[in-house]
Every structure is written in structure tokens, then in C-alpha cells.
Symmetry: C3
Subunit: 212 residues, 3 copies
């Protein structure tokens, strides 16, 4: 098994844990936790595959993702205090996860001759859509719409990946540099609390106008 | 028309009613009720088909599901008091519905040579995803994540179905026993208030730790 | 570029603005606004294509929709006060948008030999599903389930389109009359506050019964 596959599996495992933790916060039962775990771990790739026309969706071609996701949820259920204490490690692997998912998503899109900006978008969707589905199913507005440089890291890495493609470097270099960019931006953003600018607030402005 | 098709149609009808009842609780208009009715009745099969690559999605190949769903919503709108008084009957047919939907979903997955555990998952998704979509569109966290043995019944029935497949019995026996298992577990669980264990509660534990 | 394509692009642009405005109300950041903008602008067509089996989904075949959506979100961010003052113009173009999206959706469905009632449904989904996804992702119950003649206008226009198909008129006449019907019904409904009848209220009735 190559390193990309290993990171892919680790990312799936960590995403499943992240889903199970939200399910635990919401006091879901085991089925609920498994559903949210699957939605988080394979939701992004599923949406990408359904949009591109890769069917059956990739993760259904082997049982690896199935068992890894179940393992992630079970570990969260049985060893929750340990999982919670490992938040820093989880954060690191989560960042590696979005890195590898972005690159894998771009590769899939390239097989369908999708234009580069849309391929980068497909890579980003692979990485972040699972979390959006998780939050929506749990009845909360996705945090990613409001805080943290997350999708932006994926998009930046994707652009770097395409840029390097013009430099005639070995493909492996492009992949690893892109992933490094994604992980670095994500860690840097969280460490320094960097955020994207918010949209100007319509409602407040309108209210202020009314009060005058 | 064979009995499986009949149960399929009855399940669709009862699922549409269940959607329309939630829409009525939320004071939606007729269009909202129809949308929720369709999401509930054909949502599970639609998601399964989009993941497997069955397109156009199965229910669009005939007008039966279309008219049955509209009928379910209309009946709910016009004869609501009667529908509400028939809750026990509806519950029985809803249970038969998830039974037949599970078996149909597994069959569809088998056509695509999907691994047995994933085929059972596809069967379960056929049966329960419509309700999850219904609840999410209506702005409530799906009840199924928190209470009742519902998806678990489908999974159990699916496993029994595969187990019987090794016993060289006639296919019809496998199908009917699997459906009977699903319906029985569901009725038994509701009658005795059986539930799956909940996930341990992260937030509370953390709060307690902080207070010490 | 023909007029239909022009209206298609204008509709996409206006839908992206409508998504960005909701994102601004919710105080999302730029990434959140872009995501909601895309969900609103291309969500309906994406769902239709995934159900029919048009893959990669139509809007990914060119970069036009990609750039138009980004432009819509950026305009909303930078010139929000102007955008807000143009609500009447936006409303008009939004109505033209649902008109053209409905006709395009019906055409797509016809390529797959879908039965007329389902083709009209696909047209309506093309026009309204984006807004439903937008509202759900933003944590609010879709307004369209409760108020305004919106989807009904699309369905009426779709039925007129099929009806005219039997009159052996030039195809262009069918298209333009159908769009005119959709835009007219929508404007008429908003101007006079016309709404669909609501579903009867289950909960209240039950409560009243209990109190007796």
C-alpha cells in the first residue's frame, strides 16, 4: 500500500471520528453515530462521484472504507475520553485528510476532462462536503461557512497543484507539495486564528436605516 | 401484479402520508406537503440509485409512484382526522414498507455486484433515507438518529436475507423471511420501547471535568 | 448567443445573488457565501442531472456558470447596498430565471423519454431545488414550503408547454408562451399576495381534542 492510500485511510478514519463526536454531543444512538460517521467520512467523495458520474461511487468498490468508518465510530464510542484528549493529533490527521482528499478529488475530475478550476472545486468538495452534510444532518449550520480557513486551504493547494503541473516536475512532487501547502495553511490559520472576511451584514444595516 | 409490487406501492403510499403529516405539523402549504411527500416516499430509492448509477432513477420509469405519492398527500390533506385515527394501521404498513424497501434495495445493489455488507447498507438506505431527508427539510434533527429500532430492523433483515442465501432455499422464502424479520423486530421494539444504546455524552463530561 | 442562453446566464447570476444575500444575513464568510451562491445557482440543475443520469452535470461542461456564479456573489459582497435597492429588478430577473430553468429542465428530461408529468416535475426541480438547498444549508426551513406561488408557477408553465406541444405551433412559441405564463403567474401572485392553501394543522387539532 502506497503512502497516498495510507493517508486516504487515515483521513477516512479521522473523519468518521469527527462525525461520531458530533453525534455524541447531540446524544444520538449508535445508528445515528454510524450514519453521521459515514456521511462525514464518505459524503464528500460520494457527492463528487455523483456529479462526475463515477458509479457505483468509489468507496463502494472495496470494503476498506466501510470497515474503517465503522472502526472510527466504535473507537469514539468506546474510548471517548482518550479520543478527546488526542484532539491535537486528530487535528493534524484531519488536516492531512483534507490534503489527500483534495488531491484524490482533483485526480478523479481530471479523468473526466473537467476544466482546471472545476477540478479544483471537485477536490475541495471531496474534502469538505462530508463535514457540511454532517453538520446539516445534525441540525447545525456548517461551521465552515463562518469560521476558519479550511476550504480555502484546499483550494490553495489545488491551485498550487495545477501550477506545478506546468513545471514538468515528477507527478509525485506536485502531489506532495500540494498536500504540504494544504496542511500548512490549515495549521497556520488555526494557530493564528486567521479567518476569511465575513459578508457585510444585511439585516443589521437595514435595521439601522430604519431606526434613523 | 405480484405481492412484492403491491407492498412496494403500499409502502410508497404510507411513506407519502408520513411526509404529509409532518408537513401539516409544520403548517406547510400544499406544494410543501407534496415536496415532503415525494422526498419521504422516493428519497431513499433515489439516493440509492444515484449512488449505484441506476439512472433515470427507478421510480421515474413509470408513473405509478408519482400518482401514488400524490394520492397519499391528498388523502392526508382531505381526510386528516381519519388518517390520524388510523395511526396503528399506518404503523403496520410503514413497517411492511421498510421491509419491502430493504429487500428491493438489496436486489438493486446485487445487480451491481456490490459486496454483501454494502448491499445490506443500500437496502437500509432505501428504507430509511427518505425519512431522514423529510426531517432535514422540515428543520428537525432526524428522530431515527436518537430513538427506536428502525434502521437496525432493516439491517437485521438484510443480514438474515444473506444468511438464508447460503441455505439453498427458494428465493421467495429468503425474501419473505427477511421481511418478516424486519416487521417483527420493528413491532417488537416499538411495543417494548427498545432502543439502541446512546453515544456517551461528550459535552456533559467535559463540563463536569471543568467544574472539578 | 441566443436569448434562452442569455436568460439562463441572467437567471444563474440572480440566483447566485439571492444565495449570497442569505449568506450575508447569516454572517457567513466569503467561502460560505460562495458555497451558498453555487448551491442556489446550480443546485437545481445538479439534482435534476443526477436523477436523470446527465453526468458530468451540465454546468460543469463549461466555465460560464462557474464565473457567473462567482461574479454574482462578488457583486453582492462589494455593492450590497446597491443590490438591496434593486430588489424589484432582482425579483423580475429571478422570475425570468425560474421560467427559463423550467423550460431547460423539461427539455433535458425529454431527452431521456421521461413521462410528461415527470418531465414537468424535473423542470420545476431545476427551478426551485437550488433555493431549497440554500435554505436548508443556512439552517432555515425553505420559505417555498409555506409561502408564495413559486413552484406552482413553474408547474403551470410546464403544463402549458406540453399543452401547446399538441397544437403544432413552432417550438419557439411553446417556449416563450410557457415562460411568459411562469413569469406572469409569479408576478401576479406576489403582487396580490396569493398563496396556496395550507395543510390543516394536525398538532393544534390534537391538542384541542385533548383539552376537551
Amino acid at each position: 500500500m502506497d503512502l497516498i492510500s495510507l493517508f486516504d485511510y487515515i483521513g477516512t478514519f479521522v473523519f468518521a471520528i469527527s462525525g461520531a463526536l458530533v453525534a455524541a454531543e447531540k446524544r444520538f444512538d449508535i445508528f445515528g453515530a454510524l450514519t453521521i460517521g459515514f456521511a462525514t467520512a464518505v459524503g464528500g467523495g460520494t457527492l463528487r462521484d455523483m456529479m462526475l458520474g463515477v458509479q457505483p461511487v468509489t468507496w463502494m468498490l472495496s470494503l476498506s472504507y466501510f470497515y474503517i468508518t465503522i472502526a472510527g465510530v466504535m473507537v469514539t464510542m468506546l474510548f471517548q475520553p482518550i479520543v478527546l484528549r488526542m484532539r491535537n493529533t486528530l487535528f493534524l490527521f484531519d488536516s492531512i485528510g483534507i490534503g489527500v482528499f483534495t488531491v484524490i478529488g482533483i485526480h478523479k475530475a481530471q479523468l473526466f476532462a473537467i476544466a482546471p478550476p472545476l477540478a479544483v472545486m471537485m477536490g475541495m468538495i471531496t474534502a469538505v462536503a462530508g463535514g457540511i452534510i454532517r453538520d446539516t444532518l445534525c441540525g447545525q449550520v456548517p461551521l465552515i461557512f463562518r469560521k476558519e480557513i479550511y476550504a480555502t486551504a484546499c483550494i490553495s493547494g489545488g491551485i498550487v497543484y495545477y501550477g506545478l503541473g506546468y513545471c514538468r516536475l515528477p507527478e509525485a512532487v506536485n502531489i506532495w507539495v500540494a498536500m504540504l501547502v494544504i496542511v500548512s495553511i490549515r495549521i497556520w490559520a488555526v494557530k493564528f486564528g486567521v479567518q476569511l472576511p465575513l459578508m457585510p451584514d444585511v439585516v443589521k444595516k437595514e435595521e439601522n436605516t430604519n431606526q434613523k
